[in-house]
């Protein structure tokens, strides 16, 4: 573990007119750390994720990111072009709906290769070989490389989206309900895959989910949100096994036991 965080978030707020999206959120994220943000629909977790990934600009507050050269940059003061470059190279964003993160009408191989070309790789053979390697890492057979994701199942599309995001070796990945809408066996396979990739690559990740079991499996730390505010945060197993805030107790007691 390094002694410096990767991302520092301070007093971040986003208002939609007079309505609160998220309010006064602060935390540090270290390399290799997975932070889960949980809460029910409308709790502000997706607004927070969109602000952090600069897809939305916050109303107030700051977020600083430690670049690969060790320099700290204030995210909301970067130019649009700089932010886009960061998004393409050092970050990944896994959407709940793979169609939002993939290009559905180009081949699976091109979906993965495109991100490599965006970081300047021009060698066709090498791009294809890397694409094949990544497809196999997300358990997609090599003979599907020329198929379009339109022809893939939901679980395969989600795995392809993950390959597309991880191929450039990002240091920080944002995930919005990565297992939402998948059936349980597909979900288990995806979670296992994500867990392995996050550990092997030492990725930092911020995972938004309403599923506490997903949070337990993937994250070391978690934040519980309600009405745009963080009501409790801490070590994931501590929050789940000894919830202290009234709302967290309600959430934990609402889990169905299998």
């Amino acid at each position: 573990m390094t002694d410096e965080p990767l991302l520092r978030v301070s007093a971040l707020s986003k208002f939609y007119g007079s309505r609160v999206g998220c309010e006064n959120v602060s935390f540090d994220l270290w390399p290799g750390e997975v932070l889960a943000v949980v809460g029910e629909s409308g709790s502000g977790k997706t607004t927070l994720l969109n602000c952090l990934s600069t897809r939305l600009l916050p109303s107030s507050g700051t977020a600083s990111y430690r670049m690969r050269d060790g320099q700290w940059r204030e995210l909301y003061r970067m130019s649009e072009a700089e932010r886009r470059f960061l998004m393409r190279t050092d970050w990944g964003f896994v959407h709940q709906n793979p169609a939002d993160g993939l290009r559905m009408t180009v081949s699976a191989g091109a979906n993965v290769g495109e991100r490599l070309m965006a970081v300047g790789d021009r060698h066709y053979g090498r791009i294809r070989a890397t694409a094949v390697d990544w497809l196999s890492r997300v358990e997609i057979d090599e003979d599907r490389i020329d198929d379009e994701p339109r022809a893939f199942s939901g679980g395969m599309r989600q795995r392809l989206q993950i390959a597309r995001n991880l191929v450039t070796g990002p240091r920080l990945v944002f995930m919005d309900e990565p297992t939402g809408g998948l059936d349980v066996s597909v979900q288990a396979r995806l979670l296992d895959l994500l867990r392995g990739l996050v550990t092997d690559l030492g990725l930092a990740a911020i995972v938004v989910t309403h599923d506490l079991a997903v949070a337990r499996l993937l994250s070391q730390r978690m934040m519980v949100m309600k009405d745009g505010r963080v009501v409790e945060s801490g070590l994931t197993d501590r929050v789940l096994d000894d919830p202290r805030a009234p709302y967290t107790q309600l959430l934990v007691s609402s889990i169905l036991q299998v």
């Binding site: 288990a188 396979r189 070590l235 501590r238 096994d241 000894d242 202290r244 805030a245 107790q249 309600l250």
Partner: protein
Amino acid sequence: MATPLVVSDVAKSFTMHLRDGVTLPVVTGVSFSIRAGECAVLGGPSGAGKSSILKMLYGNYAVDEGQIIVQHGGGLIDLASASPRTVLSVRRHTIGYVSQFLRTVPRVSALDVVAEPLVERGEDRETARAKARSLLAQLNLPEKLWALPPATFSGGEQQRVNIARGFITEHPILLLDEPTASLDAKNRDVVVELIAAKKAAGVALLGIFHDLDVRDAVADRVIDVTAFAAGKIAA
């Protein structure tokens, strides 16, 4: 040699917000220390707070009051007030924990479940697996199960996977929450041997054992948890 674990004046209660905020006191004034090479056992009836104490020592339960001082990374840290990041580091390097029940991860084989804590500490995967194999063999887990995820194993089989996972590392402090509850006599003896080996290696152990034979075989000292009963003071 410095004392690896010192607990002083620790208190814990639960506030049940779904029951109109009623507070359930669990323990108060918990104070003891564990020396290297010693196995202490928490004694007392069910509900006295034995598991709660273990869980606080592992950072799994929050601590209301008091200090838990641990020798960690060449210094002393107070686990009761440590940041989540520090608690994770303590778990990786200093405090190991064998829980009563195995929390299984889908699709991960028993062998890798056991090897994982070593890999997390930077051990090479194959070396970790080799060590995992020898522990599972020692605990008499049939070899044909090693490659399977433990979710469908019997209670005793899962517990042996859990024990192997807890004993594979060389953490200087090891917490044991009824590790022998669903084991037969032969495997109970194996656990007693494993505990003796840890003691010989200078590990500080703290456990809960309802099985009196096991308890008598491993305990150097019994810490009576009823002395920390919070109800006495609240009442």
